[in-house]
Symmetry: C2
């Protein structure tokens, strides 16, 4: 009945519910456990004769032997496991990245421990400590802030890691992000082409590299296109979410509502704008154009479908994972970072400013 290798022992030992151990296969193959270990491990297989190797492997197969990763980790201080540190799995931005990561990890026999920090540094510390005590071989971190002493300390201690979506200043650690600067440039160009002259920016938290890069790129792009460069058109959101996007948008509207378009730091902030539009009866895109950033899943189903800049979520994850594996395999290699290309995704949340430019 039972699928595994239950109780085929000649005697009536039905107790054998435990999975087979290395000793079991050694015994079955008539060799010592040490020999079995060497035979099963490809890198040490050359130390045993081809014949015994064959016998051991066969025994392992018929017994359904699976090495115990716990015991192996204890001995080797490795675990074929990496930690994934993200702020909140509930943010739709992350699941696709996680999938990208898992896909390449899995292909290499690794797997990922996911932890949420909720943007709480204390929590982050605790979760990372826990990951380390579980012998993860590296960390993929999506919660980096511009100034992040804890990560610096980890790096000093030789913890392998790669940053996704973020970087930290003065820290020589590989990162993979979308090409935020050209993304913002594309967004501004799109709005400028539509005829907008006064464009606002709901900047992401300036404690994150993404926030500063995007807002800096915004100011550059504004100047490049000769648009109105008014500092009061930029307000910073406390966090990358709808609520803080909404409060920033309210502040902006209360301060000066003569702008006709806004580029949001990311899609969630744009969603916050939508909420404020609903509150105040502002029609989008007729009265106000908005463009987001990230092209989150389902953001195309919104009302109206959000114009945004698309980033390759899966690739970001996949590249980060590949990079981490590289770091693990050859610790000497210099950190190498990656900026992934973005695309402008035009939907219905942007249009010409009102009054329409005469054709």
């Amino acid at each position: 009945m039972r699928p595994n290798q239950p109780s085929l022992t000649p005697a009536g030992e039905v107790k054998r519910a435990q999975p087979p151990t290395l000793r079991d296969v050694a015994e079955a193959a008539g060799v010592h456990a040490a020999t079995a270990s060497r035979a099963l491990n490809p890198s040490t297989r050359r130390l045993v004769s081809a014949e015994t190797a064959r016998r051991v492997i066969k025994a392992a197969k018929t017994l359904g032997y699976q090495p115990n990763p716990i015991a192996r980790s204890l001995k080797t201080a490795k675990s074929s496991t990496v930690g994934l540190v993200i702020p909140d799995l509930t943010n739709p931005l992350f699941p696709p990245i996680v999938r990208g990561i898992e896909d390449v990890l899995e292909a290499e026999g690794f797997s990922a421990w996911i932890v949420n920090t909720d943007n709480d540094p204390e929590r982050e510390r605790a979760r990372i400590d826990s990951l380390r005590s579980r012998q993860v071989e590296g960390l993929i971190i999506a919660t980096a802030r511009v100034d992040h002493p804890f990560l610096e300390a980890l790096h000093e201690q030789g913890v392998k890691m790669v940053l996704v979506n973020r970087r930290v200043e003065n820290l020589e650690v590989p990162y993979v992000t979308a090409d935020d600067a050209t993304g913002i440039a594309l967004a501004v160009r799109h709005l400028a082409d539509l005829g907008h002259r006064r464009i606002a920016h709901l900047a992401g938290p300036q404690g994150t590299s993404t926030g500063v890069v995007r807002s800096r790129a915004f100011r550059h792009a504004i100047r490049d296109h000769g648009l109105e460069d008014d500092p009061s058109l930029i307000v910073e959101c406390a966090r990358w979410n709808e609520a803080d996007g909404a409060t920033a948008m309210r502040e902006l509207l209360d301060r000066d509502d003569r702008f006709t378009a806004v580029v949001a730091g990311n899609d969630l902030i744009a969603l916050g704008c939508y909420d404020v539009f609903a509150e105040r009866g502002i029609s989008c895109p007729d009265e106000m154009s908005v463009v987001g950033f990230n092209d989150m899943p389902f953001i195309d189903k919104l009302r109206p479908p959000l114009t945004t800049v698309g980033v390759p979520h899966n690739d970001i994850g996949a590249e980060a994972a590949r990079m981490l594996l590289d770091c693990i395999e050859e610790p000497e290699r210099r950190p190498r970072s990656l900026l992934l290309p973005v695309t402008m995704v035009v939907r219905d949340s942007t249009t010409h400013p009102r009054p329409l430019p005469s054709p």
Copy 2:
């Protein structure tokens, strides 16, 4: 500089980058490792004198000792870890459930391993085997099918588990789901109240308990309200996603488009309907009302905002986790299942059928 306990050894041993071990704290406290172990573990602490316990605990604290979970797992065959088996993290339904699970697990000192199966039984098997070899103490499973021999086998082997969102026939395993039947009844009543007489149903896969419960409830509700009970108004979606929802909707429209409303098996299927509406220029809700199921995150931001039945995602996760912990703590307890209450969430995707009933 470094935050931990680096190299405070009196001699110049800077090598001490390794975290302190139980032996280290035992030595520091002037006792044997066994005593230190007992002193540190609350459940065995009464075996040592209060004085030594105090000394050991203090030494552990100053050294910054953290027990090595790997070694502990190896010895005790426990891991304070449970496996989370879900089809796809990218489905927005799951992250909130996962968060609910993690919140209660964390409070009990447990943590969760998340794995995706992509609805591939082979993959599911492999991932679960991997979880088991990592000594998880139980499984929370969101991928159950009505007939699921693998899960039955696991249960036979004494693997503790609880099912979320699903159940499997003839398997005495606790499950926690939303109250699907009354949810569907609510949806049908809502549409009937609006005046709809011919209501279609895009049923979820009948290989899942959720699919069969909801479609059975649909037929009951239709009869209870004396509506048109036409079997050709029900079509089954191959999977719980947009694409299969869309193809089912197309099939329905091609077959008979005289219905005025549709209750979708879940929100993603409803999203598929939206896609088809866009394709064929059908206006929702004016020409066609649709109600979803689950009240996924962001589904309220859709065009139009989806009327749906709300389920307590977080609670589902939390209750499932609590239930699993109960099973782990007292293996003798009878399986106890839970049906969580749902609510009708009326938004803009439903309205009176056209022609409007005269007021």
